[in-house]
C-alpha cells in the first residue's frame, strides 16, 4: 500500500456535503424544541466567512512575504489576545490590573516566540509567514488562555482568602510575601491544562497541528518533532506570561501603603 504523496484536494461539493452535519443538528434542535437554531445558523455562517477571509488573507500574505507584514500580523494577534482578556474580565478588573495584562502578555510571549522561531525552528527567511504566523498564533492563544485561568484564580483568591492575605500583612509581610500562596496556586491553575494535554497527547487525541501536517502529507516523524517543539514552546509561553502577569498583577491588589484594596 502506498501513502498519498500530497494533499487530497477537496471540491466545493465535498465541503458542501459536510454541511450536512449542521443540517442534522438543526433538525435535532427543531424536533427537541431546543431554541438554539439561530445560534447554530449564525455560528456556521460566521465560521465559514471568517475562515474564507483568513484563507484569502493568508494566501495573499504567503505570496507577498515581507518582514514588516509578518511583524504587523504578530502585533495584531497580541493586541487581539490582550483585548480578549480585557473584555472577558471587564467588570472585575481595575485600570491597574488592565495595564498589567497589556504589558505582560507581550512581555511573556514575544521572547518565547523569538527564541522558538529563530533558534529552535530556525525559520528561513526568519519572517517566513507560513511558519511564523501559525506557530505564533498557537503560543499567543495558549498564553492568553493561561493568563485568563491565572486571572480567574487570582481574583477568586483575593475575594475568598482576603482575611488570610491580610493576616500575612499583620504579621509583617511585604505584599509580595503575603501573596506567595495566591501566586503559586494561580500559576498552578494556569499551567495545569497544558500539562494535562501533554499527558494525553498521542494517546487520547492527536493534536491539531500534527493532524494537519499528517493530512497534508508530511511524514509523521517530522510532524511529531514539530509537535514536540511547539508543545515546549507553548509550555514556555504559558508559564512565562502567566508568571509575569501574576507577579505584577498581584501587586495591584495593594496600594502604596501596602494595604489591601477592594479592586485592583
Amino acid at each position: 500500500m502506498t501513502m498519498p504523496e500530497g494533499v487530497l484536494d477537496l471540491t466545493y461539493w465535498q465541503v458542501g456535503l459536510a454541511y450536512g452535519f449542521a443540517l442534522m443538528v438543526l433538525v435535532m434542535l427543531k424536533r427537541r424544541g431546543i431554541p438554539r437554531e439561530k445560534l447554530l445558523v449564525w455560528a456556521t455562517f460566521r465560521m465559514t466567512l471568517q475562515l474564507v477571509l483568513v484563507g484569502l488573507l493568508l494566501g495573499w500574505v504567503f505570496d507577498h512575504p515581507h518582514p514588516l507584514l509578518t511583524a504587523l500580523i504578530v502585533c495584531v494577534m497580541v493586541v487581539f489576545a490582550v483585548f480578549t482578556v480585557l473584555r472577558k474580565f471587564r467588570e472585575e478588573m481595575g485600570p491597574r490590573l488592565k495595564k498589567v495584562v497589556m504589558v505582560t502578555l507581550p512581555l511573556g510571549t514575544l521572547p518565547v516566540i523569538f527564541f522558538f522561531i529563530l533558534i529552535v525552528i530556525q525559520v528561513r527567511p526568519y519572517f517566513n509567514p507560513r511558519y511564523v504566523i501559525p506557530l505564533t498564533g498557537m503560543i499567543i492563544g495558549n498564553s492568553m488562555t493561561g493568563i485568563s485561568l491565572g486571572l480567574r484564580s487570582m481574583i477568586d483568591h483575593f475575594k475568598h482568602r482576603h482575611r488570610e492575605i491580610e493576616q500575612w500583612l499583620i504579621l509583617g509581610a511585604y505584599p509580595s510575601q503575603a501573596v506567595d500562596g495566591v501566586v503559586n496556586s494561580s500559576f498552578d491553575a494556569a499551567i495545569l491544562p497544558t500539562l494535562n494535554s501533554m499527558l494525553g497527547m498521542g494517546i487520547i487525541f492527536l493534536p491539531g497541528m500534527m493532524s494537519g501536517q499528517i493530512l497534508s502529507g508530511v511524514d509523521p516523524t517530522i510532524a511529531i518533532l514539530y509537535q514536540i517543539a511547539i508543545m515546549m514552546g507553548i509550555l514556555g509561553g504559558v508559564s512565562l506570561t502567566t508568571y509575569l502577569f501574576l507577579r505584577f498583577g498581584s501587586r495591584t491588589f495593594f496600594n502604596k501603603q501596602h494595604q489591601l484594596v477592594q479592586k485592583a
Binding site: 488570610e164 491580610e166 493576616q167 504579621l171 509583617g172 501603603q257 494595604q259
Partner: protein
C-alpha cells in the same frame, strides 16, 4: 525603654469613611488602653487604623509624633502587632504557625523558644500537632503565642471571638495583660465588657457611633 508619660499614638481630626470620627485622642506608651462601646461603634476600625491596615481619609494619626502615612507600613506592622478577633492560622503544624512570622524577617527560633512561648500561653500541644484539631480557645492562644514570639513593642488586641466562652476570653485577656505588664509593652485592647476594661486599663475610652464619648484615666 519606654517613657511611661510619652504619647504613643495621637489622633487629630481623624475621619475614616462614615465609621470613625475622632477629633482628639492620645494613647500613652507603655500602658494599657481599653476601647469600649457597643458593637458597630468603630472599635475594630480604630485598631485597623493603628495597625495601618487602613488609613484615615482625613486628619492625622501619629506614632511618636511621626505621621503613620510617613511610616513604612511593613516596618510599622513589625512594631505594632494586631491580634484579630478571629486570627487566621495557616494549614500545617503548631510549629509552622509559630515560625511563620519570624520567617518573614529571615529569622528562626529553636524548639526551646517555641515551647517556652507555648508555655506562657498555657498551650500543651505538641509542636508537630496539626492546627486543624485545635479548639477556638487554643487557636486564639496559638495566635497570641505567635505574636509574643515576634516580640513587638505594641500589641493591639481585638476582643477575642464571640465564639469563645466568657471564661476562655477572660483567660486570654489576663494572659496578654500579664505579659504586657511584665515586658513593659503597650497594649491597646478593644472590649465590649466595661468590667474587663475597669479591671485592667490605665486609660478607658468609650466609642459610640464612631465618636469618642468619654475618657477615663485610671493611672
Amino acid at each position: 525603654m519606654t517613657d511611661h508619660n510619652e504619647v504613643l499614638f495621637k489622633f487629630e481630626g481623624v475621619r475614616y469613611r462614615d465609621v470613625l470620627f475622632i477629633d482628639d485622642f492620645a494613647i500613652p506608651a507603655g500602658k494599657i488602653t481599653c476601647i469600649t462601646g457597643a458593637s458597630g461603634g468603630g472599635k475594630t476600625t480604630l485598631l485597623r487604623l493603628l495597625a495601618k491596615l487602613v488609613s484615615p481619609d482625613e486628619g492625622t494619626l501619629t506614632m511618636f509624633d511621626e505621621s503613620l502615612s510617613e511610616r513604612h507600613s511593613v516596618m510599622h506592622r513589625r512594631e505594632v502587632a494586631l491580634l484579630s478577633q478571629q486570627p487566621i492560622l495557616f494549614p500545617g503544624t503548631v510549629a509552622d504557625n509559630l515560625r511563620v512570622g519570624l520567617a518573614l524577617e529571615g529569622k528562626d527560633a529553636t524548639d526551646m523558644d517555641l515551647l517556652a512561648v507555648m508555655q506562657s500561653v498555657r498551650l500543651k500541644q505538641a509542636l508537630d500537632a496539626d492546627v486543624e484539631h485545635l479548639s477556638g480557645g487554643e487557636a486564639q492562644r496559638l495566635a497570641l503565642a505567635r505574636v509574643l514570639l515576634l516580640d513587638r513593642p505594641v500589641i493591639l488586641l481585638d476582643e477575642p471571638s464571640s465564639a469563645l466562652d466568657e471564661e476562655t476570653e477572660s483567660q486570654i485577656i489576663q494572659m496578654v495583660v500579664d505579659i504586657v505588664k511584665a515586658q513593659g509593652k503597650t497594649l491597646v485592647m478593644v472590649t465590649h465588657s466595661t468590667q474587663e476594661a475597669r479591671r485592667h486599663a490605665d486609660v478607658i475610652a468609650t466609642l459610640e457611633n464612631g465618636r469618642l464619648k468619654g475618657r477615663d484615666d485610671h493611672a
